[in-house]
Every structure is written in structure tokens, then in C-alpha cells.
């Protein structure tokens, strides 16, 4: 395969066979794909993608652990094309890359760990509606091009620029389906409280991405209409002894369905009061953990909690406000608990060039 020069953002151009199956075999053999077919990132497609940002293509947005490759705008655009993004998705992907590289996100740990952690992207603000990013029916499932492509683009950047290839620098024991794509919008219209980005200091009219190191999703189906009962069963779901959250004191996430959020609002609860009650209700006796895991808890939380014995009640997070709550999804009596990787904190970035 003959090389045909270089792009301005550090890419290598080569002449590929004019055959979609042959191109996909090539991308598979070179481990540039996530296993699914890609859209060939031709010079023309990448140029159309790059036209959607005012950034120059050689600008480095971040260096991404664990390989510390330079995530230039051009390289991000190439992976966005491969993932099936439309050009207007590019600013969202760039902002997500920037957020994932923030030190507090701990990308080194997230990319290289044996934990199944995936990077979940939450989109807030007007850009979500404009790009058709789903925050309603099946927003974490299949069927919405923007959700599918934006999440997949970030994964391809993390793998191809960050160097986290499965079995090599990505040491995940199992991984999870969310490592293909994991992206949704918050359902701000159905949120009885302030949306996530406003809670995190931005204006309602700003467009943002928030990245979360998410271990997975645990569905909670309850038909209760009682706020106190609802909080009790959510807190009981959050309690799980083999947990990084109780081990380190972490940042667990809760996706409330609009119906469950409305029950809590009608019960007179603010979002901060929901967090405070969940923090109290989810305290777990340290003795529920295995002896070896309890040693890890003692090593990481004794300074915070004092002497830790079997009857010590461990909190899931250092502070109630570290429990994160968003409202998204369609009608239904389901909410979702999203346990977090542990040594990570979510990061929010405003989307430049959101349009």
C-alpha cells in the first residue's frame, strides 16, 4: 500500500483499494477499527468534516494517555469520519476529547485498567436538539445516528490516538458494550430541576459535553409513586460490596426517568435534597465487603473516615453533592444506576463552534 504524503495534523495519507470490503479488512488488520465497518476517511470526507470547525487542523487538543498520542483536530476528524459522524458532530467530539484529557478524569487509569469502565458522554444545551442527540426513548440504546456516531468517534480516538488497544494497553478484563458507543443528551424539558450543565456552572443556553467514567448501567424498575420508597430502593441498588465507589469514595451517577424525577419533585424534593438523602440511605456496613477488599478500603479511606471496622457505615461518596443526578429517557417506570470507575471525576466542557 503506497503512502501519498501527510496531512497537516500528523496523519499519513495512503492509497487504498477502491473497495469497501478491502478497506475494512485493511483497517481491521491494522487495528484501526473497533470491529465494526468504518466509513473510509478519504481526504475529501475529512476536509468536509474539518470545514465544520474554526480550529486549525494541526492544533493539538490534547495528548491522550496511555500512549500520549497527539489528538490533533485533523486526527479527531479522521476518527469522526470513520465513526459515521456528520460534520456538525465534530465540535461535540472535539469537546469530548478535551474533557477526557483533563487530569481529574484520570484517562490513564480509565484506558489502561482491568475495570470495564467506558467513557459516557452527556450532552446538554441547545446543541443536543439541533443535532438530534437523543435524550428520550432508548437514548442509551440503538437507533439515533448522533448518539451512535459521537460516542463511537470518541472511542476510536481513545483507541487510535490514545493507543488503548484491547489486550495491549487497554487491559480490560471484559470491557462492556458501552465501549463501542455511550452517548446521550439530558432530557432538559422533562427535568424538574436545573439541568446538569447549569448545576456545573454554565448557562442554560450554553452547549456542553460531560464525560463520565462509567462502569455500566443497572436498571431499576419500580412502579412506586412514593418519593421516600423510590429513594430507598435506589439507595439499596447503589449498595454493592465489590464496588470501587465504597472503596475510594467516588462519584456515582443516577439517571432518573422523567416519571421518577416527577415523583421526587412532587414529594417536595430538590435535586440537592435527593442527593443528600441518597448519600444517607446508601451507607453500607464495611463488613459487607470481603476481608481483602476491606483492607483496600482502610488504605484509601481511613484518613477520611477514621478507624474503619466491620460495623463502620461507609458512604458511597465523600460528600452528598458528589452523587450526580440527571434526568433523561422516555416514558416508563425505569431509572438507571451508573456506577463509576472510582478514581475519576466527571469533566464538563463547553462546545466551541457549537453553532
Amino acid at each position: 500500500m503506497a503512502e501519498r504524503g501527510q496531512g497537516e495534523g500528523g496523519s499519513v495519507r495512503f492509497e487504498a483499494p477502491d473497495d469497501i470490503e478491502a478497506i475494512n479488512r485493511l483497517y481491521h488488520e491494522r487495528r484501526w477499527s473497533d470491529g465494526l465497518p468504518i466509513v473510509p476517511p478519504t481526504v475529501e470526507r475529512v476536509a468536509r468534516m474539518l470545514a465544520r470547525t474554526r480550529r486549525t487542523q494541526d492544533e493539538t487538543v490534547a495528548h491522550l494517555a496511555p500512549g500520549f498520542g497527539a489528538a490533533t483536530v485533523e486526527r479527531i476528524a479522521i476518527n469522526a469520519v470513520m465513526a459515521g459522524c456528520a460534520p456538525e458532530h465534530l465540535p461535540v467530539v472535539i469537546a469530548a476529547v478535551d474533557a477526557a484529557a483533563a487530569p481529574e478524569f484520570n484517562l490513564q487509569g480509565i484506558q489502561a485498567t482491568t475495570n470495564p469502565v467506558a467513557v459516557w458522554i452527556i450532552v446538554n444545551g441547545p446543541v443536543a436538539r439541533r443535532l438530534g442527540i437523543n435524550g428520550s426513548f432508548n437514548c442509551l440504546g440503538q437507533g439515533t445516528p448522533a448518539n451512535a456516531a459521537i460516542g463511537r468517534a470518541l472511542r476510536l480516538v481513545l483507541q487510535n490516538v490514545g493507543g488503548a488497544l484491547p489486550g495491549e494497553m487497554d487491559r480490560a478484563t471484559h470491557g462492556q458494550p458501552g465501549k463501542y458507543t455511550f452517548c446521550c443528551a439530558e432530557n432538559e424539558e422533562a427535568n424538574p430541576w436545573e439541568p446538569l450543565h447549569v448545576e456545573r456552572g454554565l448557562r442554560r443556553e450554553d452547549s456542553t459535553v460531560t464525560v463520565v467514567g462509567a462502569e455500566g448501567t443497572m436498571n431499576m424498575n419500580t412502579h412506586t409513586k412514593d418519593a421516600a420508597e423510590l429513594l430507598r430502593v435506589i439507595a439499596e441498588t447503589m449498595q454493592h460490596p465489590p464496588s470501587n465507589e465504597y472503596c475510594y469514595g467516588s462519584e456515582p451517577w443516577l439517571i432518573l426517568s422523567p416519571e421518577h424525577a416527577e415523583i421526587l419533585r412532587a414529594g417536595g424534593l430538590t435535586k440537592s435534597e435527593v442527593k443528600r438523602q441518597l448519600w444517607d440511605l446508601s451507607r453500607m456496613p464495611a463488613g459487607r465487603m470481603t476481608e481483602r477488599d476491606l483492607l483496600r478500603v482502610k488504605a484509601s479511606r481511613t484518613a477520611e473516615l477514621g478507624e474503619i471496622r466491620a460495623d463502620t457505615l461507609l458512604t458511597i461518596a465523600h460528600r452528598p453533592e458528589d452523587i450526580r443526578v440527571i434526568v433523561t429517557g422516555g416514558p416508563g417506570t425505569h431509572s438507571v444506576y451508573v456506577p463509576c470507575f472510582g478514581n475519576t471525576r466527571a469533566v464538563t466542557r463547553e462546545i466551541a463552534d457549537a453553532g
Binding site: P66, G67, F68, A112, T114, G163, E168, M169, R171
Partner: protein, 73 residues
């Protein structure tokens, strides 16, 4: 890596589960020759005596690696 960058002899210790990561990351950060002492994974199922034996072997490996590295320079 940071210590090695400052011109000091340095050895990284990791388990077999992370040795691929260690070598790949050392190469990515521009130091493919970084010596790595590798301990068999996992530790959790081993007895205290077995862990002691592993530790002794690891110390010997570190001494060997750092001596070789120093001689080579």
C-alpha cells in the same frame, strides 16, 4: 519514567497482567529500553510465604536490571 528522564537509573515494577501495557507505554513515551521487573499475576490467591518469595525474586530482578543498565551506560 520521570526519574529515568532525569538521568537516574530507574526500574519499573509491574505484574505480568500489565507488562504489555508497561512496555508499550514506555515505548510511547520515548524510553523503550526502560527496565521492567515483572511479577507473576495474580497475587490475591497466593499465600504469605509465596508472596515473600515473589518479593525476594523481584528484589533480585531489580538489582540485576539496574546493574545491567548502569553498566551499559
Amino acid at each position: 519514567m520521570e526519574i529515568a528522564k532525569r538521568g537516574r537509573a530507574a526500574v519499573t515494577i509491574c505484574s505480568t497482567a500489565f507488562s504489555t501495557l508497561g512496555r508499550a507505554q514506555a515505548a510511547a513515551l520515548g524510553n523503550p529500553e526502560l527496565p521492567i521487573a515483572v511479577i507473576p499475576h495474580p497475587f490475591g490467591t497466593r499465600t504469605r510465604d509465596e508472596v515473600r518469595d515473589l518479593a525476594r525474586q523481584c528484589v533480585a530482578d531489580v538489582v540485576t536490571l539496574i546493574t545491567e543498565k548502569t553498566r551499559g551506560e
